[in-house]
Every structure is written in structure tokens, then in C-alpha cells.
Amino acid sequence: MRLRDVTLGYDRHPAVHHLSGEIAPGALLAVVGPNGAGKSTLFRGIAGILKPLAGSIETGGLDIRDIAYLPQTVDIDRSFPISVYDFVGTGLWRKVGFFGGMGKGARDKIAPALAAVGLNGFENRAIGTLSGGQMQRMLFARVLLQDARLIVLDEPFNAIDAKTSADLVALVRRWHAEKRTVMAALHDMDLVRANFPETLLLARGPVAWGLTADVLNAENLAEARRMCEAFDDAAAACVVDDLPSRAA
């Protein structure tokens, strides 16, 4: 996947400015940065929900269905009468579509996915009865079933206890071992250093992108905080787009 001078934002105001770079197949990339740095916006762009204001995102042959995207604030109607089993089963959409059978073949996939996230025995529970951590485990089970080549996780370990996040990090490592590309927005620097070989430090624009050890130094982090300046209602139109020298 290649990002070419991508600018993403809302209502002409950019949230991510002039980001270029390449994500190699099989990469395990952490995206870090202060609140408001544009991490979620970048992920929305990659998941194809938000069109870039400028530049382009080349997905390198990935269809939107090859991308599993887990947003930060999931817009799930928890009062909807659906069981954990059926909800996780929606991850098979790509395989079963409108009419495909959800019989034994599906059961053989859903049961191990629930087991992998530690939710055995929850099959018939309504999704509204789950705790926050169980909900996140369930969403990971659905990502498992999506069997996607690119997995995009937006702050997946927020408000999650240590045991749950350790279990879910183990899944991320498993995906990495299976040569899937994984991107995750994270705030826990120790977790990033321990598990993610590559890091993009974002602050409304790229601060640094490379090996985690090189990116996460005090100087870069301070720079990131400084660059996260406020949204300016009276901002002038950006002229960088017109300067050929910046395109690289």
C-alpha cells in the first residue's frame, strides 16, 4: 500500500497533511501521536470511508473487502437483539454474502474464533449483555473471521484491562506471523516498543516513520506535541499542493 502526498480531513480542513509513504505487505505498523493527531482520520481514509482531499491512497490491489477495519468508537447498536454467535458470524459476509449457508462450515469457523478470543460459552448471549472488554474480544473475533490481508485497528486497547489487552496483542502477533499487514493506533509506548517493529509518529502530518526504536525518541515526541496545533477556522487555503518540490 502506498500513500502519495495524502491529505485527509473534513470540510476542507485537513486532519492529516501531506503524508507520503509505503506500507509493505506483512508489515506490523504502530501509528502513534497525541489526541487529534489524525490517526483515526488516516485509518478512515485507508478503510475507504473517507476520500482524500488531495493526494492518493493506492491499495496495491486490495479490495475494500480485503481490509478489516475496527474503528475506535464502534457505532454498534448494543440494544439490537442479536447473539454473540450471529454477530461474530457477520465477519463471514465476504464468503457467504446474501444467501450463503451458515451451517456446519460456518460453525467450524466461528467456534474457534470465539475460542481464540476467550469467549467460549458466550455464543447465545445477546451482545447488549457484554462488558467493554468482552465487546472488544468479540470484535476481534469478527476481524479473525474476516480473514483480511490488511487489518486496521484504531486504538484497540483503550479502556481494556491488562489481561484482555495481552490476549488481544497475542492475536495481533499471530496475524503478523500469518503475513497479514496490521496497522494499529496506540498510546501505550511500552506496548509499541515491545510488539511493533515499525512506527509512524503522526501529528496532523508525519513527524517520523521508520523503525520503532528510531522513531520513538524524546525529540520526536516533543515535536509531535508542538505540531498538533489547533484547528483554525480562518486558515488560508493550503498552497503546498502547488509546489512541485514537496511532491516527493
Binding site: I76, D77, P81, I82, F87, T90, W93, G97, A126
Partner: protein, 290 residues
């Protein structure tokens, strides 16, 4: 046998009662599942507003070819979509909220419909359109109602999965499929189709009743969408049948009688329902160990 006389004889003796029963069965089978989705998508009142919005279309159809349900259905579909699309366009292009926008259009549409009927038709026509008359089903009308119910169930079967996924987790559906918007539109079409269906039997004002009330009943008896749809259909069938009997025995107009029975079932469910019913909440039993 008094029970036979009260419950069965009206249908064996009178053809119009048999036709009415057939119509109510078709309405219940098509409308109740749609009502469940309206409720789960928090669109119950949207359904009500749409019922008013389709009046001018149905009225024009009625003026052109009399009580011909095919013409009324076509007119209703056109009017319903026009209002839905106009309301959506105004909401999206001006920042007015969609509900306010829809309210404006459906009121204007209702006023237009009543105007058309009262200028061009008689008072009896107006009463007929507003309150329906399920006891005056001819063959053609019955066929159209049955056909609409069949189409509803077939289309619902096709869009069922995307509709469920979109109701629970719309962002997920957007990231895996492009079926969301078409399914939503098809669902709106089904709403309009079933409202027009309800017109003939229950009139504009009550057409949405056999969709929304059974769904409300079902919510108190099941935690599962399949169960809800089954319970909604059964309670719509029971209300339809009991309403017709009540109307026959007491001379209450049939449309309101059906909805009143349905409302009584609803009240009973609110009180005694096994899922969140009031009595159950007051006497929940001792809490469990785990």
C-alpha cells in the same frame, strides 16, 4: 353452540367476512416483519409519517381509477419516494435535521391528499381513504394485497442480512459491502408498499398500526430477532381475526377494532411480558449466583 356462532359462523356465513380475513392474514404476514425492522431501526414514527406522505399519490390513483388498489399502490409509491427523497435532499443540503424536514413534507403531503380527495370525491370517499374499509374487498383488491405481501417477504429475504448488519453496525457494513444503501432503499420501498396495503383495510391513519404495534408486542416476549418476527406475525394475525369478530359482533368499525385489539395485546405485553415487562420488573425474583 354459542362459541361456534361467535367465532366461526361469521366467516362461514358471509363471504365479505372471509375476504376480510384473507386480507388481514396477508397484511399481517407482510407488515409485521417490516414493523419489527422499523422498530429496531428506531423508525416507527418515520413509518407513521410516511403513511401520511403517500396519501396524495394514493388519492390521485383513486381519482383516476376508483378503488383500484393497483393504481393506488403505484401512486402511493411515487408519492412516498418523492417525499422521502425531497426530505433527504433538503436535510442534506441545508443542515435542517431529517426529522424536521420529513415532518414538513409529510404534513404538506397529507394536506394535499385530503384536498384532492375532498375536492374531487365525495365525503364517503374521504372517510374511506382515511379509515379504510376491510369489509369491501373485491377480487382484484385482494389479489393486489396478497401480491404485495408476497413481494414483501421475497424482497425481505434478499435484503435480510445486510439490513440486520446495517442495523447493528452500519460502519462495518460500509467497510465490507456496498449493499447498505440499496438495502435501505429497498426497505423503504417495502414500508411504502405495506402502508398502501394497509390503506384499503385500515385507512391512512391506521395503516401503520398493524406494522408498529405487533413489533412493540414482540419486543416484550423475545430477545432474538427471529423470535420477534414470529411473535409479531402471530400477534398481528390474532389481532386481525379478533378485531374482525369484535367488529362483527359489536358494530365497531373493523379497522379501529383490529387496532384496538392489537393495542390491548400491547398493553398486556407491557404489563406481563417476559422481557422487561412491568410485573416482571417489580417481582424479578432473587438474584442469581452468577
Amino acid at each position: 353452540m354459542p362459541i361456534y356462532d361467535a367465532l366461526i359462523a361469521p366467516f362461514t356465513e358471509f363471504e365479505f367476512m372471509r375476504r376480510a380475513l384473507a386480507a388481514v392474514i396477508a397484511l399481517a404476514l407482510g407488515g409485521a416483519p417490516i414493523g419489527v425492522f422499523l422498530m429496531l431501526r428506531r423508525m416507527s414514527l418515520v413509518g407513521d409519517a410516511m403513511a401520511h406522505a403517500i396519501l396524495p399519490g394514493a388519492a390521485i390513483g383513486f381519482m383516476v381509477s376508483g378503488l383500484n388498489l393497483f393504481a393506488m399502490t403505484t401512486g402511493g409509491l411515487i408519492a412516498g419516494f418523492t417525499v422521502a427523497i425531497l426530505a433527504g435532499v433538503v436535510a442534506r443540503s441545508t443542515g435542517l435535521k431529517e426529522d424536521a424536514s420529513l415532518a414538513t413534507f409529510y404534513l404538506a403531503s397529507l394536506a394535499l391528499g385530503v384536498t384532492i380527495v375532498s375536492v374531487k370525491g365525495t365525503n364517503i370517499d374521504l372517510l374511506h381513504v382515511l379509515f379504510g374499509n376491510i369489509l369491501a374487498m373485491d377480487d382484484a383488491t385482494l389479489l393486489v394485497i396478497a401480491a404485495n405481501a408476497t413481494v414483501t417477504l421475497l424482497v425481505l429475504a434478499v435484503i435480510y442480512r445486510p439490513l440486520v448488519i446495517e442495523s447493528v453496525d452500519p460502519v462495518f457494513l460500509r467497510t465490507v459491502s456496498r449493499a447498505g444503501a440499496p438495502s435501505h432503499l429497498a426497505f423503504l420501498a417495502l414500508v411504502v408498499l405495506n402502508l398502501v396495503n394497509g390503506f384499503q383495510a385500515l385507512g391512512t391513519l391506521l395503516a401503520v398500526g398493524l406494522m408498529v404495534l405487533p413489533a412493540g408486542i414482540a419486543r416484550f416476549w423475545s430477545r432474538d430477532i427471529t423470535g420477534m418476527i414470529c411473535i409479531a406475525v402471530v400477534s398481528a394475525l390474532v389481532s386481525g381475526y379478533a378485531g374482525l369478530v369484535l367488529s362483527y359482533q359489536t358494530r365497531v368499525p373493523s379497522g379501529p377494532a383490529i387496532i384496538l385489539v392489537c393495542a390491548a395485546l400491547y398493553a398486556g405485553s407491557v404489563l406481563f411480558g417476559s422481557v422487561g415487562g412491568l410485573v416482571r420488573q417489580m417481582f424479578p425474583g432473587r438474584h442469581l449466583e452468577a
